[in-house]
């Protein structure tokens, strides 16, 4: 399942890059993160609680930064495991400066396997959309705060 989009942030590119490339910052933006651990510069782990219809599913996710060209492009791979589900995601973003603002183009290819996937796109697609929207909105706020701090 591929999701993609563009987003404009009223902050300089370096600011946005800083947040997006700081795993601790990002962990703070992701919904349902229960614990977070940095393994090394390019690898980190998180335990996440994903809302799923009537209940929620706990997933342990391994992240790996696969490409980084500051301050314009990065790509990330995530592999998650939970009860009845295996998730893999490849995501990348490009940042372009536009005056004092930053335009972000992002895309993610999410694969979900296991019983959860069997529930079909009907359930999974809205959840992925919702999760992405929550991250982007939180990022909006965080960028605004950071811009204010500067």
């Amino acid at each position: 399942m591929k999701v993609e989009g563009t987003r404009r942030y009223e902050a300089p590119r370096d600011r946005v890059w800083e947040i997006l490339n700081d795993p601790v910052e990002m962990a703070g933006l992701m919904p349902g993160v229960e614990s977070f651990e940095i393994v090394d510069e390019t690898h980190w782990k998180a335990k996440v609680k994903v809302p799923l219809g009537l209940g929620s599913m706990k997933m342990s996710i391994d992240f790996e930064k696969t490409e980084s060209r500051p301050p314009e492009h990065a790509s990330l791979q995530a592999k998650g495991k939970g009860v009845g589900a295996i998730m893999s995601m490849e995501t990348q973003f490009d940042l372009a400066e536009d005056g004092g603002a930053t335009d972000m183009r992002w895309q993610a290819d999410v694969r979900i396997l296991g019983q959860v996937a069997s529930m079909g796109q009907r359930v999974v697609q809205p959840i992925v959309n919702q999760q992405v929207e929550q991250v982007l909105t939180a990022l909006d706020k965080r960028v605004a705060v950071k811009a204010g701090e500067a």
């Binding site: 009860v83 295996i86 996937a117 069997s118």
Partner: protein, 821 residues
């Protein structure tokens, strides 16, 4: 004991056969006193949960069960490596290289479909086993899956079974008659580039499962289970477990529906046998509903390519040519038998004489396929029915007339098909007339106008189906001449016990087909008693002496194999009773004795009568001084019925593959909303001809059930997979099975064309439901004529697909071509 059939005796003129007597099974079932395998409990038993693959295709790097085993209350585990060490792969029926496939009880080395069991966990409760299973760590190396059989045959497609080196399970051509001659004789040739029969399955109320005990002293397993074909089940299991078949005792009592998908349970059962032996305790497994959808066997999906139909201008069908690609899923568990079983009904109900079929079966990363109510014939019959309606549409002919012109006629019975099958009896045209009458065919045009006035499109469709029963397993040799299977058999024992009880045991495994009732009717008529006097043992037990290589309940055969065995054993018992009574009563000989009112009476002096109770007592407990000519009289008679089959001609792929052919002709009237594609079945008739009916109400019940199955498949039931090989209908929310409110008002009719090949005139029945799928497809195609005449090319037509046909009729017609010869 005797295994030879004695001379025939006449059944009473008016007997219990033919009457809808109260079902013997109902009292216990209605009162909740049935015994299903899940009702069987044992001290100290453990509950099994299977760890299943989330991947459709992946290598197994490692399996770590230590965390699961450390949980208190977990009794133990089993993984594929142990299975590979302790068992041999199940035998494969195909020819090389398809038979190189290695299929074990658990995945060994790699997984080939999502839901494939990779490990098993046993714990003191079912819930704990399930929770502990989550602690089993399996590391996978994902591989690219292939989820379409046609794609699986392309060069470069991912290969599921490296041992075979190909995804082809079986491939072959069938050439009967003279197809080139048919082309030469034709006025027109209709070509259809693709027809597609979709994947679905039956969803029995009772999921699969077993309680398995291992006796360390006798080294024998007992399986209390719901296997529906124990005869063949143990033939798969015993060699895998490296034991003789006597080491596997299979016991069933009540089974909550089978439909075919309880035939291929052997991988699970072998895993349970290993666990029971390893853990020194009985183990029980009940399949979860989601697993039933995901990993129990599905019905075969079949794509028909490059169809060519030579016809005369008047609609006379001369032959057909087709390339069929069948999807076996990840393992050929009952396959490749589906590659030949369709040939039982090669020309459907029609007089096609010239046939060329190129048949290939491929593995895909989906759940394995196996019999499902109408196994392999349903697909072929749907194909023939679609061809009839497409040809009628393209030549501007009336589908009713085309059918009548091409149906095999009653006066041609018994009819030999181009491949040597013998249709025993039937009158398709008469069944069709009854069906049309039931749905008010005469006023069809009026109803079309009425529907039109309400903004709806009305259409009529016909589904003609044959339910071929009593297999000749020799057909397997047409796939692989090395296979040592042919003929068929079933066993019954009938005995007269000490107090005159008549006790019947069957080799069959009824799943709702009322064998106790029907067998008691047949026995009662032959012995001159009532069905109340006949005690038919419930279920199956391979400890009973009523068990043979093909024992089971499958493929529409009880009314022939089961009842012939019952009849044979009962006739043998009747003969022994008469011989005994002749001596005791001083009659001239057995022929001077008649059996009536539970007594053996002298024909010339009916007051000289020996009650059955006395007969039973004399032989069993009061037998001193009996003359030597009664030495062989045991009043305990076993009979093995063997249908009169020959091994088919392997060179020509020719021979009789089934003994009886029941007929079902359905007529369906739909109303379609052209704005949305939503449609409703507003009238429906099912006409059945299964020869002589022993219990008409039971036949009618099966007709209703089979029709519901078919309408479900036509409208709601489908097992789609995404590109990753994930099943998208793993629960009843996504997989809608029709319930009472989804069923149209059902009108039924019948005729009886007794089979000349069964003593009772009966034919196996119950699988003819495919007719509903054909009828709905045909009715939709008829209804949509005013909106661009789209052609229905798929068997599954949910509302959105109908809407697509309305929106773009040309797309559906793109693959249809008519040319002059």
């Amino acid at each position: 004991m005797t295994t030879t059939a004695p001379e025939q005796v006449e059944a009473p003129q008016k007997g219990f056969a033919g009457e809808s007597i109260p079902r013997k099974e109902d009292r216990r079932l209605v009162q909740g006193q049935g015994v299903f395998f899940d009702d069987v409990k044992r001290h100290g038993m453990g509950y099994v949960h299977f760890v299943r693959s989330p991947y459709a295709h992946a290598g197994i790097v490692s399996i770590d069960v230590s965390a699961a085993e450390a949980v208190e209350g977990v009794y133990g585990t089993l993984i594929g490596e142990e299975v590979a060490a302790l068992t041999d792969p199940f035998f494969e029926m195909s020819t090389p290289p398809g038979n190189e496939i290695r299929d074990y009880a658990l995945a060994v080395g790699k997984v080939r479909f999502a839901g494939e069991p990779v490990a098993a966990v046993v714990a003191e409760t079912r819930e704990l086993a399930r929770d502990a299973a989550e602690l089993v760590e399996v590391e996978y190396e994902p591989l690219e899956p292939v989820v379409d059989a046609v794609a699986a045959l392309e060069p470069g497609a991912p290969v599921l079974h490296e041992e075979a080196g190909t995804n082809v399970v079986w491939s072959g051509t069938f050439e009967w008659g003279d197809y080139d001659e048919a082309l030469a004789e034709a006025d027109r040739i209709v070509r259809i580039d693709r027809l597609y029969f979709h994947r679905f399955s039956s969803t029995p109320l009772e999921c699969a499962g077993a309680l398995v005990e291992y006796d360390r002293g006798t080294e024998q397993w007992t399986l209390h289970c719901n296997h529906q074909m124990p005869g063949i089940g143990i033939v798969w299991m015993a060699p895998a477990l490296r034991v003789g078949t006597d080491k596997l005792r299979i016991v069933t009592q009540d089974i909550g529906g089978g439909f075919g998908n309880k035939i291929t349970l052997h991988p699970y059962f072998v895993a349970l046998c290993l666990l029971a032996r390893k853990l020194h305790r009985p183990v029980q497994w009940t399949e979860w509903r989601t697993d039933q959808h995901t990993a129990n066997t599905h019905g075969n999906e079949r794509t028909f390519l490059d169809v060519e139909v030579p016809v005369r201008s008047d609609g006379t069908m001369l032959g057909f040519k087709v390339k069929a690609v069948d999807d076996a899923g990840a393992f050929p568990r009952y396959e490749p038998l589906g590659c030949i079983i369709w040939a039982q009904v090669t020309p459907g109900c029609y007089r096609w004489r010239h046939v060329r079929v190129d048949f290939t079966q491929a593995c895909t990363n989906k759940s394995p396929t196996a019999p499902n109510r109408g196994y392999s014939r349903m697909q072929q019959l749907w194909f023939t029915e679609r061809v009839i309606d497409v040809v009628a549409s393209e030549l501007g002919l009336d589908p009713v007339e085309v059918r009548k012109r091409n149906y095999i006629r009653a006066d041609e019975m018994p009819y030999e098909t181009p491949n040597g099958c013998v249709y025993d009896s039937g009158d398709y045209a008469r069944c069709l007339d009854i069906a049309l009458d039931l749905v008010g065919y005469d006023s069809l045009e009026e109803r079309r106008r009425d529907a039109e006035s309400r903004g709806k499109l009305l259409g009529l469709g016909i589904g003609s189906t044959l339910d071929s029963g009593t297999n000749n397993f020799g057909q397997s040799q047409l796939l692989n001449p090395e296979l040592q299977f042919s003929g068929n058999n079933e066993v019954a024992t009938v005995r007269l016990d000490i107090f005159g009880e008549i006790v019947v045991t069957l080799g069959t495994t009824p799943q709702g087909q009322s064998h106790e009732t029907v067998a008691s009717q047949v026995v009662a008529d032959l012995l001159g008693v009532t069905p109340n006097d006949v005690h038919v043992r419930a279920g199956h037990d391979s400890y009973w002496n009523s068990h043979a290589g093909f024992s089971g309940t499958y493929a529409s055969q009880f009314a022939v194999t089961g009842l012939e065995a019952v009849r044979g054993a009962t006739l043998a018992l009747a003969d022994q009773i008469r011989r005994l009574a002749a001596i005791i009563l001083g009659a001239g000989g057995p022929d001077d004795i008649v059996l009536e009112e539970s007594m053996a009476k002298r024909r010339d002096m009916p007051e000289a009568a020996l009650p059955f109770m006395a007969c039973g007592a004399i032989i069993n407990v009061n037998n001193a001084g009996l003359p030597p000519e009664l030495d062989d009289v045991t009043l305990n008679c076993r009979y093995v019925y063997r249908p009169p089959f020959e091994v088919p001609d392997i060179e020509r792929k020719f021979g009789n593959l089934t003994l009886t052919y029941a007929t079902q002709i359905h007529a369906c009237v739909v109303e379609v909303d052209p704005e949305t594609g939503v449609y409703e079945i507003v009238d429906y008739a099912a006409v059945d001809d299964c020869g002589t009916r022993i219990h008409p109400q039971i036949v009618e019940g099966q007709v209703h059930g089979a029709t519901a199955h078919a309408l479900g498949a036509a409208m709601f039931e489908t097992f789609p997979y995404d590109e990753n090989g994930m099943l998208l209908a793993s629960n009843f929310y996504d997989y809608h099975v029709p319930h009472a409110l989804d069923m149209p008002p059902l009108k039924t009719g019948f005729i009886e064309s007794p089979s000349p090949f069964s003593s009772l005139g009966t034919k196996g029945m119950g699988e003819g439901g495919g007719a509903g799928i054909h009828a709905v497809c045909a009715a939709l195609q008829d209804a949509l004529r005013p909106v661009g005449s789209p052609i229905v090319t798929e068997s599954h037509n949910p509302y959105h697909r109908v809407w697509e046909l309305i929106r773009d009729p040309a797309a559906s017609r793109a693959g249809i071509e008519v040319s002059g010869a």
